[in-house]
Homo-oligomer: 487 residues x 2
């Protein structure tokens, strides 16, 4: 089903990063556990890695196996939930809970899987009455391809901003593995929507630009039929594009490539991957009507924008296309591809006009989306980023209480970028403080996949137990603070 470019995949494989490891040990306080007892080990920080438990016994020689339930949790709240009670639409297999039998004590029990966690809860499901379990402690071998020594300090006199930056850097750090993962708990893989934001944060922090390059070659090296860049990539057991494709995600290959070039001046990669980028424009064009307006769709997930199931995507998609087309124009110019550059200019003008003609409501002074002319934050944000609107739409949407709101840090990222683009830097900083700072105030060690201050238990998956609490698309502050709010 997928198409392969082996030369590209070889480049990607050559760029496989080294994983740095670090050992973090916690004591179990020699706690004595009987049947039904449990114990929570707090590693004090968010980690990604393998865990070894040091277990022994007290009393008679163990005369039956020990049966343990283990829960690994990024937030304490996950420990109160049971996987058996989750009945949402994504797989409960993401929940980091295990049942383990231990046949011999004492032992160093090395669990084979990688977990993303701060807390480890051990619960004795059963044990013999002739002996008790003693938990000596646990060691995590934490892994990341981010090099801690490479992280420049964030210079700011503002302690709150330094703390937001610290949490953002840790989020990015823990998502940097063999690829830029979206979340080390879930989905543990490369998504282009996340990659684009991670790469931006990376240029300001760890500067492991080869990891971005690797991910670009992965996306270009395994594509869906016709050369379409998939929404995500699998690395194991073999490299393969996810057969999910979304309008916006395929297009984001273009700005991700451009941002990489801007950060590195690596014109060779820009040139080599430009055809793959241009192909996304060609494929996206098929989704437009003759007037240059993107066709709306009822298909769930045809275009992402935000994890808000009510959101109509038409206007946002138009904005994304304009944003990416504009970026494609920059690439064409940088590569002296004058012919494409002028084609792009012409097309951009037409599609911008279509947006103004069909999606802008002059009475409201706002962009609307879909047949029902839905008002949303996403539509205004992307029209700003697409160069079709100014800061006034952001002011106006903020004054309405009937607009479809923002659910994810991902859309908030684009909101902050839009504010900066229209010169509202103070407002942008206020959003960074209130939204990401809001997670910090709730004790976030890393930034979450989802955060709705009005409803902290929101999940698009039918249960918070499968939410990811260290999520790449939430690392934005490390980019914005360091680039725009440093002194």
């Amino acid at each position: 089903m997928t198409e392969r470019n082996n030369a590209f995949l070889r480049k990607a494989e050559e760029l496989e990063p080294m994983l740095h490891t670090r050992e973090i040990a916690v004591s179990g306080g020699e706690r004595v556990l009987k049947k039904g007892d449990s114990l929570c080990l707090d590693f004090g920080e968010h980690l990604v890695g393998t865990v070894t438990l040091r277990l022994s016994s007290r009393g008679s020689h163990p005369d039956a196996p020990l049966w343990l339930r283990l829960k690994f949790a990024e937030r304490m709240s996950e420990l109160k939930e049971n996987v058996e009670d989750y009945h949402g639409w994504i797989s409960a297999s993401w929940v980091q809970q295990e049942q383990i039998h231990v046949d011999e004590l004492p032992c160093e029990l090395r669990l084979p899987r990688r977990y993303a966690f701060r807390y480890v809860q051990l619960e004795v499901l059963d044990i013999s009455t002739k002996y008790d379990l003693i938990v000596g402690g646990a060691v995590c071998e934490a892994v990341s391809s981010a090099d801690d020594a490479a992280l420049p300090p964030y210079e700011s006199a503002d302690a709150e901003l330094r703390e937001i930056d610290r949490v953002a850097c840790r989020t990015l750090h823990d998502c940097m593995q063999e690829v830029f993962e979206d979340g080390p708990k879930r989905d543990r893989r490369l998504w282009i929507g996340d990659l684009r934001l991670q790469a931006l944060a990376n240029y300001e922090t760890y500067r492991q630009n080869d990891l971005v390059k690797r991910c670009l070659y992965l996306f270009a090296g395994s594509t869906l039929p016709g050369g379409r860049v998939g929404a995500g990539m699998f690395i194991r057991p073999e490299i393969e594009a996810d057969d999910t494709a979304m309008f916006d995600y395929s297009l984001f290959f273009i700005p991700t490539l451009w941002d990489y070039y801007e950060a590195t001046d690596d014109v060779e990669t820009l040139r080599e991957l430009w055809p793959s980028a241009w192909r996304q424009i060609e494929l996206a064009r098929e989704g437009f009507d003759e007037n240059g307006l993107v066709r709306d769709s009822d298909v769930l997930g045809w275009c992402f924008l935000d994890w808000n199931l009510e959101l109509n995507k038409q206007a946002g998609a138009q904005g994304v296309y304009l944003y990416c087309l504009k970026t494609a124009g920059k690439i064409a110019a940088a590569l002296n591809d004058g012919e494409k550059a002028s084609l792009i200019e012409e097309e951009y003008a037409k599609k911008k006009q279509a947006a103004l003609d069909s999606l802008y409501d002059p009475a409201l002074g706002l962009f609307v989306s879909g047949e029902k002319r839905q008002l949303s934050w996403a539509s205004q944000i992307w029209m700003v980023l697409g160069g079709t609107a100014g800061g006034d739409v952001l002011d106006r949407i903020a004054a309405r209480d009937d607009a479809v709101g923002m659910v994810t840090p991902y859309l908030h990222h684009h909101y902050v970028q839009a504010l900066i683009d229209v010169g509202q830097r103070e407002k942008a900083l206020e959003v960074l403080r209130s939204y990401w700072g809001g997670m910090v105030k709730l004790g976030a060690d890393t930034f979450w996949e989802l955060f709705n201050p009005a409803n902290p238990d929101e999940s698009p998956y039918g249960g918070t137990i499968v939410n990811s609490y260290c999520h790449a698309w939430s690392c934005a502050p490390a980019y914005f603070l360091r680039k725009f709010f440093s002194k």
Copy 2:
């Protein structure tokens, strides 16, 4: 707590057997499984070993882990039970059920633990909707220290008896591991009550006499305070006697040593271990009153005899003591220890008389036990084996319906031996046919720990799910048939 004789333990360690391995593969029929689906693999025979599952997928690239429940069952009936529903007094950790997360497909999933099973049930607890599981098959690497090539054929024209012998030999075979285990599902360790019967079957079958010798040295090498032989032994992580001791089990060191000598003529071992054997007599004597009658006890498990919680053990214990004292006399004679031999003779006469004076009810023509003068099969059987009664008590107890009956193959073994001792060979054969043959008729691949024809769901553990269905003490027919009913 335990006492060690390192010279004995070194001998035991030098005798550690080689484990023979055999690979048995079954196909999964390329069955396609979705969430909630399950599949039962039937290996067609009882096995002890590790299992590797061959798993792959169909549909999209797996985008979430596979969450599997695995049940390993010796009998099909175990698959219908859930460990969560077991609330008995021994640990539910014995139930061979696992929950496993598989992060990558396709894979060869090698499970780290050893199981005793014929059936393996796979149940998909959760999976992504984007792919299905395909079960290609499974391979068991079966282990046993019994050498199949060493097993002489059982010569009999009777197909039923040959089948009973075959199942008995398989039972013994699957319990022969690093030691003679009681059951490879549970408790997976050396118990002296089981060892004695396994050794007898071994002399007629696999003839791995060094494994018996190893077990004798283990029991003599790690003892409870005062040199008392424990009821069981642990081998891992280090050799240690179980701190459980039972009146009858400690004494059984004596006949186990004597039977070994009779089978091997290894007088050196007999001489070296005779003090350990004699010590059990000295310790057991403390349990007698001044008239030579064993003191009854309310302590659960002070003496085993059978897994019948109603059974009063006093008379049976007296019989066991007489049986073992008689055997000790044979050892003393073989070692020309005339002094002990005559002491034993004297003591035997006194304690036999005490049994006849206090435990025999002339009106009933039967032995009674305990304050409440309980009538039981166990009391008659052990009085016969102890040399205090003839076949008439066996006939009389059979005619009563108010006697406490037999629950285990273990006590049935002693019943058959008692029948043979009093010359009732035909009746002995009838018991072998009806009792062990009854298990064969119910589809037994190996003989069970417990079998009450009147109540097949009986368990002393509060639930059949923890019963062992390949249990050493049930291998008796291989001994009796080959020794007494061969042609």
